[in-house]
Symmetry: C2
Subunit: 395 residues, 2 copies
């Protein structure tokens, strides 16, 4: 007596989550130090100290009914103002509180955006490889994902394929840079091309197409790359942000959506997202945590920590003969499978206690994803296992 959609979902559940549970089981069986779990994007650095202090101060200073009570579905006005000002200062934007809606993480944000804009039968374009959950989020509103091919050398989107995939049914395009799972940052030139295709296609089909920018990795950039904010490239951009990675708070479910005033039907979008926040059952983003992140907007996660991991893993695997895409942001390494069926490679890795996620889970077979948000010592201990794995394939 379960629904048909869930019956189907139970069959093809998240490969990443399944591996998360498998990793915990393996750690119990073999000892945590003997399992090299690169499966889940769970931050490996603690939140900045200021965060804990902010929570404690709020408990001491703020009226409890205010701190833990209902507020407007969009979130506390003071929190939203603080975020708008922070974005304006960093990116030269001109937002105020009403452009910001606090959400239950980016996943909650994307669902409220999708509920607001998608009708059954609509198409949402994604750039492969892409976070597999986008498919579920679109399916929640009976819309479908259409995947655009990447360039298999650079993992920038194939712009020609993008142009061809847009149809009269295209209501939205999801973009995620720095990218999960590749770690690639889309070049300014790519962003300009995407914007230009969208402008042209909007004119051709006579309706708006929203670019939904999923930005949980916005601040996680290396090698002098700059943080980007995509609303400047394309008017109809809606941003979904999460503090999961920037403040190491994935379990707290805190993020926000930005609807710029210049977006088509901006006021309707804002009201729609606010209502969706309520009717989908989020109601509002967690209240204490809303106030706490507002006090930590200038705080940064320890990018140097991930950078060290990145270098060690990328260089280590490359030296062993694996073909890796050099990550420019986020905390993922995208590795070419030495055999066509990457599932086989994943299984071989598992024998050596290495947990990797197959590329097919991201709509891009032939590759695997390694989440290097682990301790440096895990990478140190994993490299000999990778050396064994390389031998299996004669690298």
């Amino acid at each position: 007596m379960i629904s048909k959609k869930i019956e189907k979902a139970l069959k093809g559940s998240s490969a990443i989550r399944a591996m998360f549970i498998e990793g915990k089981e393996m750690a119990e069986k073999y000892g945590a130090e003997n399992v090299f779990d690169f499966s889940l994007g769970n931050p490996a650095t603690p939140p900045p100290e200021a965060f804990h202090q902010a929570v404690k101060d709020l408990l001491d200073e703020t009226d409890s009914l205010e701190l833990h009570g209902y507020m407007e579905n969009a979130g506390y006005a003071d929190v939203r103002s603080a975020i708008a000002e922070n974005l304006n200062r960093r990116f030269g934007t001109e937002f105020d509180a009403h452009n910001i809606i606090m959400t239950v993480g980016a996943a909650g944000g994307l669902n409220t955006i999708f509920k607001t804009i998608l009708d059954p039968g609509d198409e949402v374009i994604v750039f492969a490889p892409f976070f597999g959950e986008y498919r579920q989020y679109a399916a929640n509103f009976d819309a479908e994902i259409v995947a655009v091919r990447p360039n298999l050398e650079t993992f920038q989107p194939d712009i020609k394929d993008f142009e061809e995939k847009i149809t009269a049914k295209t209501k939205a395009v999801i973009i995620n840079t720095p990218n999960n799972p590749t770690g690639v940052i889309y070049k300014q030139e790519t962003l300009r091309q995407i914007a230009s295709v969208l402008e042209r296609k909007q004119a051709e089909f006579g309706h708006d197409i929203y670019l939904v920018s999923d930005e949980p990795y916005r601040e996680l950039v290396y090698d002098g790359n700059k943080e980007e904010f995509l609303t400047k490239y394309y008017r109809n951009t809606i941003v979904g942000y999460s503090f999961s990675k920037s403040l190491s708070l994935p379990g707290e479910r805190i993020g926000y959506v930005v609807v710029p005033g210049e977006a088509a039907d901006a006021e309707l979008l804002i009201s729609g997202i606010e209502i969706s926040n309520r009717t989908l059952g989020f109601v509002n983003a967690p209240s204490l945590i809303q106030k706490a992140v507002a006090r930590c907007l200038e705080e940064k996660t320890d990018v140097g920590f991930y950078d060290e991991n990145r270098k060690k893993l990328y260089e280590g695997l490359t030296k062993l003969g694996f073909t890796c895409i050099k990550p420019e942001g986020a905390f993922y390494l995208w590795v070419k499978s030495p055999v066509e069926e990457e599932e086989e490679f994943v299984q071989e890795g598992k024998k050596l206690h290495i947990l990797m996620v197959k590329g097919s889970a991201f709509g891009c077979p032939g590759f695997v994803r390694l989440a290097y948000c682990v301790s440096l010592s895990t990478i140190d201990r994993a490299l000999p296992a990778f050396a064994e794995l390389a031998k299996v394939y004669g690298l």
Copy 2:
């Protein structure tokens, strides 16, 4: 370019939420002490002291990566065990961690339940008057609400009407006792009759019908009434709980779902709800708050505070000539409108700065709801305004 569903929702948005915002505006205009806002169920007592202490202790004692990180979508195993044990002790049930799924409040819980069991075109029975958001939650999955008439004296459900409203399409029944908006507790006899009708109809239609018990007010009972736990009446009961009222944490979005092992397809339900928690974008209930409530399961909100309000408001309004249903639980007073169109009564009240919610918002016109989760002094100051209002109608 917004979706058709949201376009419709924007037209008929929540009467309660609209009034919440109107109340804040009126408070700014006339001064908070001159506005008598009985519109929203926002608890008026602070969380127990132990809650703040638990949060502080957790920050000091628990590893940050554990405290703010991802866990299984169902929530921390230790938190779910603690809740199962607490329920078992109080209600003689036999749950373990795997029967409990932590959710983003009861609203999040109901949506994950509905996603798991509802197919498009299914019907969900509700007992009028009912929390208006149930309609949206069902609509999220293209299912429809079918309302059962109450007895207009006792506000127990009309069992004959219930029996007639169940069809082959009925997949679920929502029950909410202590009830929002009436404050009535469904009698044991009512619960037995509901169970018996459901058993009969299950046999008649040859499929399971789930009773979904929405229990945010479980512990808010007066006059020696006992807390109830509905799984003992009917095998196919799924419970949605929230700590919003019991620990005064509505903004924190924390609750849980219970799927008893004896429910039909229990294991599929559990997996489905867990997956829905992820795919709807909740991912998991807020992590720090999960751990904090697990330390406060023996704590109680100040029921005496609400009880004093209840008596003062019920007696005050009854003495003024209003017809009130005596509340036995929750923190709502259900008042008969002196005129047939209760919207007119609501508007008259507003002229005297009294904010009430129209019964139509709960599928039961001719009545209004007063949320008495306010300070006692608000009631004291409101009574003269109600006296004015009584005069308008010659009471």
